[in-house]
Symmetry: C2
Subunit: 324 residues, 2 copies
C-alpha cells in the first residue's frame, strides 16, 4: 500500500473530516452534516473551512401540497441530472407535523432508486427546535453539500408554512408542483406561491382535471406582466411515475439558471442567501446570550421585576442589550 | 350631555386609544391590535403603557389537525365562559397555507354566534412575514387583550408546525383536539403533542372509532409517569356541534388553571412568556439593524467580500456585531 497516494483516513479531527469530505468520502460528509444539524460546538469552524469551496452548486427548491408527488418527481429529476453526469444532493426539509400529511421524513423508499450510486446523496432534515433553527440549519447543510462538490442540490419542502417559505427563499430556482386536487389557482395566490415560483409543474397530468389547472395557471400568470427582460414563469406537465415530462422540466430549470446568470439575478440571490445566513448566525448568538443573561443574578432580578410589572419587556430588552 | 361623565372620545392619540380601550371601546381595541400586527412605530410605547394592566387573563391554547372541529369547539367554549359572565377573546392564528387545509383565516361564520355581544372579541392573525414574526405579534396581541380586561383568551392554531408550537408555548393551558380520522396516538407523539398537551379532547365523539382513540390516548399517557403532584393529562370526549361535553371541558380547564396556581407553575409559565417576549424584541431589533448595516458603504463592501469568498459568514457576523 502506497501511503503517498492513499493517506490514512482520519475522521476524528475536523481537518481529517474536511479532507475526506472533499475527496468524496460519504461518511465524512454525513458526519459534517450531523454536526451542522446538532449545532456542534465547532460549527463555525466547519463553515469557515468549507466556505471557500462553496458557490458552485445549482440550488433548486421544490414545493407543493402533500400528495402532489413531489418525492417521485425529485427522484426522477435526480435521475435526469445523473444521466448528464452531474452529482446530485437531495435535502428533504419537513418542519411540519404528521397532521399536515407532509411525512417526507423517514421516507427511505426513494433511496432505493439511487442505491449504491456514490453521486447521489439524500438527507432528511426536520426539527421542532427553536424558531428560525430549521432554515438556518438547511442553509448550512446546503453550504456543506456545495463544498462537497455536488453540481445540483434539490431542496424539497412540503407545504408552504412560514418555515418552508424561508427555506425556499434560499433556492435559486423554485419549482411549485401542483395536482388538480390541490385546489384552484386562487389558493396558489393566497399561499404566496405566485411571488416565489419560477416554474409551475402540473404533475399526474394523466388526470382529467389537469388541463383545466394548466389553463387556470396560465390565466393567473397572464394577469401579472413580467418586467422587460424578466422571467416568464412556465407551466409544465409531468407524470413523474411514468417519467413523462421530466427531461423537459430539467431543461426548463436549466433555462432559468441561464437566465439568472445572464441577468445578474444569481448574484442578487446569493447575496440574499448570505445576508440571511449572517443574520441567522447573529440571531443564534443572541438567543444563547439572552438565555445566559436571564440565568445571572441581575437577570433573575430583572425577571422578578418583569413578573411584578415594575419593568416592561421593552425596558428589559433595552437593559439587556445595554442600548436605549 | 354631561362631559364630566362622558369625556369626548379621542381615537387619534395613543393616550386616547389606550383610555378608550381600557373603558371597553371595541374600535380602540381593534386599532391597537392592528398597530401591533403592523409593527407600528409606536409599538413599544403601546406595550409599555398597557403592560401594567396585564397578568389577569387566562390564556388557553387550542390546537389539532384540520377538520377536528376546533373552531366549533372554541365557539362553544366561549359560550360556556360567557354563561359564567366571563369576557372572552378568541385569537385564531394561522401561519399555514391553504394547502394544509388550515383555512381558519377569514372564517367569519363563527362570529355570528356572538354577534353583538360586546364581551366576545374575535381576531384572526396570519402572516407570511419574517421568521418569528407571527409568534411575536401573537404574544403582543395577547398582552393587549389581557390589558383590555378579557378574563379568558382562547388562542386557536391549526396544525403543529414550528410556528404553531411557538404560539402554543405561550398558553397556560394547552388543549389538543383530535378526531378518529386524525390518526393514531403514535402520530400525536411524533408531532410533539405529548409534551405540550395539558388536556386531550376527542371531538366528534359520536363517530364509531372515537372510543378506540380514547383508549389509545389513555394507553399512551399511561406510559409516562407524571411527577409527584404533577398534572395528569385527562382525555375528554366532546361533540361540539351538539354542545356535548363542552361544560366538562371548561371545568377541566379550570382544574388545570387551579393546578397551575397551586403548584407555582403559573409563575414559571409567565416567566417563560416574558423571557421569550424580551428575546423577540431583541431579535426584531437585530433584524432591523443588520438590514440597515448591509445598506451602508462598509456593509456593501462586506457583502462583496462575502460573495468573493474572501470573508465567510461567521467572520462577517463578528465584524457586524463588533464582537469576536
Amino acid at each position: 500500500m502506497n501511503s503517498s497516494t492513499t493517506p490514512a483516513l482520519d475522521l476524528t479531527s475536523l481537518d481529517g473530516l474536511v479532507s475526506a469530505m472533499r475527496a468524496g468520502h460519504r461518511l465524512a460528509l454525513s458526519r459534517l452534516i450531523s454536526k451542522v444539524e446538532n449545532r456542534s460546538s465547532d460549527l463555525s469552524e466547519i463553515i469557515m473551512r468549507l466556505y471557500p469551496f462553496t458557490g458552485g452548486a445549482q440550488l433548486i427548491g421544490i414545493t407543493g401540497p402533500p400528495g402532489a408527488g413531489k418525492s417521485t418527481l425529485v427522484d426522477r429529476l435526480a435521475a435526469a441530472y445523473r444521466a448528464q453526469g452531474k452529482r446530485v444532493a437531495i435535502v428533504a426539509v419537513d418542519p411540519s407535523s404528521p397532521f399536515t400529511g407532509g411525512a417526507i421524513l423517514g421516507d427511505r423508499i426513494r433511496m432505493q432508486a439511487h442505491y449504491g450510486d456514490p453521486n447521489v446523496f439524500i438527507r432528511s432534515l426536520g426539527t421542532r427546535g427553536k424558531h428560525g433553527g430549521l432554515s438556518h440549519s438547511t442553509k448550512e447543510v446546503v453550504m456543506v453539500l456545495d463544498a462537497a462538490g455536488f453540481d445540483v442540490i434539490l431542496v424539497e419542502t412540503a407545504g408552504v408554512g412560514q418555515t418552508e417559505l424561508e427555506v425556499l427563499r434560499l433556492a435559486q430556482t423554485v419549482v411549485v408542483v401542483l395536482v388538480p386536487e390541490s385546489g384552484d389557482s386562487i389558493q396558489v395566490m393566497k399561499a404566496g406561491l405566485m411571488e416565489i415560483a419560477d416554474l409551475f409543474v402540473v404533475n399526474k397530468s394523466d388526470r382529467p382535471e389537469s388541463d383545466k389547472l394548466v389553463r387556470e395557471l396560465h390565466t393567473m400568470l397572464s394577469l401579472v406582466m413580467p418586467e422587460e427582460g424578466g422571467w416568464h414563469q412556465p407551466v409544465l406537465k409531468t407524470e413523474a411515475v411514468r417519467d413523462q415530462g421530466v427531461k423537459e422540466l430539467s431543461e426548463s430549470i436549466d433555462e432559468h439558471q441561464a437566465h439568472l446568470t445572464r441577468t445578474g439575478v444569481r448574484t442578487q440571490k446569493t447575496a440574499e442567501f448570505l445576508k440571511s445566513e449572517v443574520l441567522d448566525i447573529l440571531t443564534e448568538k443572541l438567543n444563547q446570550s439572552v438565555l445566559l443573561a436571564f440565568q445571572t443574578t441581575s437577570g433573575r432580578e430583572l425577571l422578578s421585576d418583569l413578573l411584578a410589572r415594575k419593568v416592561n419587556p421593552y425596558q428589559a430588552a433595552s437593559l439587556l442589550s445595554g442600548q436605549p
